[in-house]
């Protein structure tokens, strides 16, 4: 009697174990399938403009005129690629010194005030939706540039300014984590040798944490590269390479946002937009691998 009861319990135990394993494995399988199908679908759609519609890769990556409705249609995406790189790099350049100084302030200079004022400020910035950034950019930054510089105010610098504030929280929080993780012996050794705080920071702390700081910069740039609506609102959306920072231009994301709704699925005009999405996807992979490479260097 007792034995059959026991074996039933053991059975129940095993069944329970399997339920858990199967349920959670299903979730993870779904996640993996989703990402592979995402890459597969975007890649087949994006490559079809080369294989089915016969657009040449050289024209796509090197051509400077984008006239999808023209006769003959032209699909030079270089202005968009240039626009994306220019805005995201400039945004990272503006944001990097701000965020690293912010992190130094929070960890090394005034930790108490940093925790009370700066930390909440940065958490708040992280929570503001991107369309709101775009709206503020359009109603504050663009008119400001229009008043002091020649041109409409729309363009690369307006886009980079908006993006630099958007990516500030990402970069600051990663820099803060890196600085906090630094063993205090290094700093104490430097102070014991009679170095001032700035000498310690610039010759010991920053060089040691540099790979981790760079990780933050690259992640911020990746986010800026993929951001769509906030950039689209302030960049002006003209399909050519600009002569100045204040001339209307476009990015990969802005042209996808604007044109995807106006083209019919399966046409060449639509397929080339998927090719642009594929470029975005491939750039994401590049950013992820750069980040992984930097992280490996940070551990050593």
């Amino acid at each position: 009697m007792a034995r059959s009861n026991d074996s039933r319990r053991v059975k129940q135990h095993i069944i329970e174990e399997w339920i858990g394993k199967i349920l959670t494995s299903l979730c993870i399988v779904l996640l993996v399938v989703t990402i592979f199908s995402m890459v597969y679908f975007v890649a087949t759609k994006g490559l079809s403009s080369f294989f089915k519609n016969g657009v040449s890769l050289a024209e796509m990556l090197g051509g400077t005129s984008w006239k999808p409705e023209g006769e003959p249609p032209m699909f030079g995406a270089l202005p968009f690629i240039f626009g994306s790189f220019a805005t995201s790099m400039l945004a990272a350049l503006i944001s990097a010194p701000l965020s690293i100084c912010g992190a130094l302030f929070m960890v090394e200079i005034m930790p108490k005030l940093g925790k009370k004022v700066l930390q909440p400020a940065i958490e708040l910035l992280a929570g503001i939706p991107s369309v709101v950034y775009g709206f503020v950019g359009l109603s504050v930054i663009v008119p400001f540039y229009r008043n002091i510089f020649p041109g409409q105010g729309l363009g690369i610098l307006a886009g980079a300014s908006v993006l630099s504030v958007m990516i500030l929280p990402t970069m600051t929080s990663i820099a803060t984590d890196a600085l906090r993780a630094l063993p205090s012996g290094l700093k104490e050794g430097s102070y014991a040798l009679g170095a001032t705080r700035w000498q310690t920071l610039s010759r010991t702390v920053i060089p040691t944490t540099l790979p981790a700081l760079m990780t933050g910069v690259v992640l911020g740039m990746a986010r800026a590269f993929g951001e769509a609506l906030a950039v689209q609102m302030v960049i002006g959306n003209a399909p050519h390479i600009p002569n100045s920072l204040f001339q209307s231009t476009s990015t990969l994301t802005s042209v996808i946002t604007l044109s995807m709704g106006n083209t019919v699925m399966g046409t060449i005009q639509n397929n080339v937009l998927w090719t642009l999405a594929l470029i975005l996807l491939l750039m994401t992979f590049v950013f992820v691998f750069v980040v992984r490479w930097l992280e490996r260097r940070a551990i050593r």
Partner: protein, 295 residues
């Protein structure tokens, strides 16, 4: 220049830059609230938008955002919990687990517009859900799943090992241990993270442009049958959310008071996100108090 002078100058510059960050935050928040709060009224929050005349509201958009958030959480939370539990408890260290981790990392850094395009291709066209709340919720799930997985993993990692081992030693199965011992202890971390993720969902627009659509049918707020096309509860109707509405009003708004509407809607959006943040802190602290003896 002596080392001390350089040190003073450098410290000054760092403090200055930190001050600039705080100023940006204050200026941004102040601008949105000053411009927007004046426009918020009961009428603005409940009436439907106008295309050409002024005086339009954001009633349907606000409802759509909240409803979409609920739908998204219903799908995301179980999936994210399951995947997170697998990653932290069942996955054996090795090459497979490492590559799954890489995949989750890649998924979390995909641009949201690409997630939206994927949703357009798969949920809207291939599965035939059309421009609908349901397609939008699925796209947001894809977008949010990696975050949910990370939150779950963090939550489970915060459980003391002794508690888990005690439960296993009592003869409970691993699944039972996870469900009845570990998850309750991990709840404060998981819940706080989920509420913060909800704030992110609430403000997302790029992934929704081509999945939930950019228009809203005329809603009949007296019809609560989820299957009728005019009902607000029907998950298979197109729905423009608040964030999408802000974008649309700014880029192609024809109403004469478009800037005011955008400002008002932005203020509503910001206040909601702020509310989520405060709620997350409050809930986290309350649960912490309840489950541990600490104060």
């Amino acid at each position: 220049m002596s080392a001390k002078t350089v040190d003073k100058i450098a410290t000054g510059v760092i403090i200055l830059f930190a001050g600039i960050i705080v100023l940006i935050m204050v200026g941004l928040l102040g601008f949105i609230l000053v411009r927007g709060l004046g426009h918020i009224s009961f009428d603005f929050l409940t009436s439907p938008p106008e295309t050409i005349r002024e005086g339009g509201g954001i009633g349907p958009q606000l409802f759509n955002s909240l409803f979409l958030l609920v739908l998204t959480l219903i799908i995301t939370v179980p999936l994210g919990l399951g995947a997170g539990i697998y990653m932290s408890q069942y996955a054996k260290p090795g090459r497979v687990t490492d590559s799954i981790r890489l995949i989750v990392e890649v998924l979390s850094s995909f641009p949201s517009i690409v997630v939206g395009l994927f949703g357009l291709l798969v949920f809207v066209n291939t599965f035939g859900f059309g421009f609908s709340l349901f397609s939008g919720a699925l796209a947001l799930t894809v977008f949010n799943l990696p975050l949910m997985v990370r939150i779950t993993e963090q939550g489970l990692a915060s459980v003391p090992l002794a508690q888990k081992e005690a439960s296993l030693a009592l003869g409970l199965s691993k699944w039972k241990t996870i469900r009845s011992v570990m998850l309750p202890i991990a709840l404060p971390v998981i819940l706080t993270g989920t509420i913060l993720a909800a704030g992110r969902v609430f403000g997302e627009a790029a992934a929704l442009l081509f999945t939930a659509g950019m228009s809203s049918p005329r809603l009949d707020f007296t019809d609560w049958n989820p299957f009728s096309p005019m009902s607000p509860l029907n998950p298979f109707r197109p729905a423009e959310t608040l964030a999408v509405h802000i974008w649309k009003v700014n880029s192609e708004g024809l109403a004469p008071d478009a800037p005011e509407i955008a400002a008002g809607a932005s203020a509503v959006l910001i206040l909601t996100v702020l509310l989520f943040n405060l709620l997350a802190r409050f809930v986290g602290r309350q649960l912490q108090k309840k489950f541990t003896a600490s104060r």
